[in-house]
């Protein structure tokens, strides 16, 4: 027998990640300058790192409670009030191994076989496979450059999302850098209420908005009861490798997710929980500093694309911009740029429908590298 013949259909049907293929291409090129990275170039704030070290020195290496340390849940509860969110640390918050785990838990908790999961595209690459692994039926909902890649009521209707059971949201968005205001979310919320959908709102980039404050669909009338919000420490606190996120929602939602979590994960990494607690307590200034730096780079990259005559909507969140590929073929452009100028970025088609013809450009890299990369892109475009 060979185990290859016994892979489950759910796993077998999911195609290999397009980003993986591009990673392998980029790995073959020497001295590559990468604008293809989906994580901060900063390290976690030192105060958070020392808290992790201290916890290890004190021998804090056991499991925590399934839902995460009580103190941490309290600090999270306190923190999210700045987004207008109110969740009880007792039974409405669960700490997870990265926001990724939280998203997976929610799929498993809310998706039955054949349930339709509406996923705005282009999208972060994990949602569609996550929905499939849970037995769901992904429904792509395209978003468009002319709408600055915001989700609209018309887009939801056109895609037939009224038949969906679950809607996934991710704003600020990876890969486009799009954000949605309260006004724009109100339309989506109305649609969701009318058609009785569950919303899974991935707000991992909440702290990385450059023109205005974060807006969460969960704070809209009637939405708290039908929404699970995901957030975490990876992006704003530059803690990707510590793997710590959380989910918030009504008690019955968190109970169901905790049921999966307690068997699959037991508890999120203890060391990371100590780091996260300190991050919430004392690292606001470090986050502000990183945000200012990202904002400067964002403007720089947008200005350079504009000067090159490359169309790029003004992305206002996360650390990505999403320009059009000059000749329309994103894969060819990305491969050519990598070969000729040793600059890696990610072709938009990797992120699903509506991504094609665009490029994801991450500015989570130093100004020095960004400047060089933009010079090379310009040389390639003019070459």
């Amino acid at each position: 027998m060979t185990l290859g013949d016994h892979i489950s259909d759910r796993v077998e049907t999911v195609p290999p990640s397009g980003i993986r293929r591009f990673f392998e291409l980029a790995e073959e090129v020497d001295d590559v300058i990468s604008l293809g990275v989906g994580e901060p170039d900063f390290s976690a704030p030192w105060a958070a790192r020392t808290a992790a070290i201290d916890s290890l020195e004190r021998g804090k290496t056991s499991y925590t409670s399934n839902r995460g340390m009580r103190e941490l849940r309290e600090a999270i509860s306190e923190r999210v009030t700045r987004y207008g969110q109110e969740y009880d640390p007792e039974n409405e918050i669960i700490v997870t191994t990265g926001a990724s785990e939280a998203v997976d838990l929610a799929f498993r908790a809310f998706v039955d076989d054949g349930d339709v999961v509406a996923i705005p595209q282009p999208s972060y690459i994990s949602y569609t496979p996550g929905a499939i692994f849970a037995g769901g039926d992904p429904l792509p909902v395209p978003t468009y450059a002319e709408d600055e890649f915001k989700l609209t009521r018309e887009g939801l209707e056109a895609a037939g999302a009224d038949e969906a059971d679950v809607l996934v949201l991710c704003y600020p968005n990876n890969p486009t850098g799009a954000v949605m205001t309260d006004e724009e979310l109100a339309d989506v919320a109305a649609f969701v209420r009318e058609h009785d959908l569950v919303v899974l709102s991935d707000e991992i980039y909440a702290d990385l908005r450059y023109e205005d404050d974060h807006a969460s669909i969960a704070t809209h009338p009637g939405m708290r009861d039908r929404t699970v919000v995901f957030n975490g420490f990876s992006k704003a606190y530059a803690m990707t490798g510590l793997r710590l996120g959380y989910a918030m929602g009504p008690p019955e939602a968190i109970d169901a997710m905790n049921k999966v979590h307690q068997y699959a994960m037991l508890s999120a990494p203890t060391t990371a929980q100590y780091a996260a607690l300190e991050a919430l307590r004392s690292c606001d200034d470090a986050v502000d500093e990183m945000r200012r730096e990202y904002d400067r780079r964002r403007r720089f990259v947008l200005a350079r694309f504009e000067e090159m005559g490359i169309d790029c909507f003004e992305a206002k969140g996360a650390f990505y911009v999403f320009p059009e590929a000059p000749d329309g073929d994103d894969e060819a452009f990305a491969e050519g740029l990598l070969e000729e100028q040793n600059v890696a970025l990610v072709p938009g088609s990797v992120f699903g429908e509506g991504g094609e013809g665009h490029l994801r450009v991450s500015y989570a890299t130093s100004m020095r590298e960004l400047r060089e990369a933009m010079d090379r892109i310009e040389a390639y475009v003019n070459g």
């Binding site: 990640s17 980003i19 591009f22 990673f23 980029a26 790995e27 590559v32 990468s34 293809g36 990275v37 989906g38 994580e39 170039d41 390290s43 972060y124 690459i125 994990s126 990876n174 200012r292 730096e293 400067r296 780079r297 403007r299 720089f300 200005a303 350079r304 890696a344 990610v346 890299t365 100004m367 400047r371």
Partner: protein, 161 residues
Amino acid sequence: MDKQSLLDLLRHDARESVDDIARQLGADADAVAAALEELEDDGVVRGYQAVVDWNRVDDEHVRAQVEVDVELDRETGYEQIARRIARFPEVATLRLVSGDYDFFIEVEGDSMHDISNFISERIAPIPEVTKTVTHFVMDSYKEEGIELGDGDDDDRLSVSP
């Protein structure tokens, strides 16, 4: 033109071109040039200097931090004494501080001997100076907010979701 953001950026890297500063602040290059000139004219920005890791320079370069006690009298204040000390080119930094002593001086020279001579012949004899304590810098780990170690390699995956 938001001066605070401009200062923020210059403190981070003062070698950016006016064009690149303009791009990063979403401002007009002319406006940036004008704001820079104003900051300089108003004496807000006093200069632009390299942050040097002297350990990596072959020539000997010695620095010392000197604590200076002074005794004021009716005719002489801190300001007057400070002006007198600041004029010496060997003095890189001069601050009036709270605590156990009055002035903090950073002195630079080519050798320990140079610096010792300077303190004993130029600073100690100033009539108001009652005491000096000289600390030679043995090593430096961080200057102007920049760590002087080997730095960390960017070991992130070159392409990631």
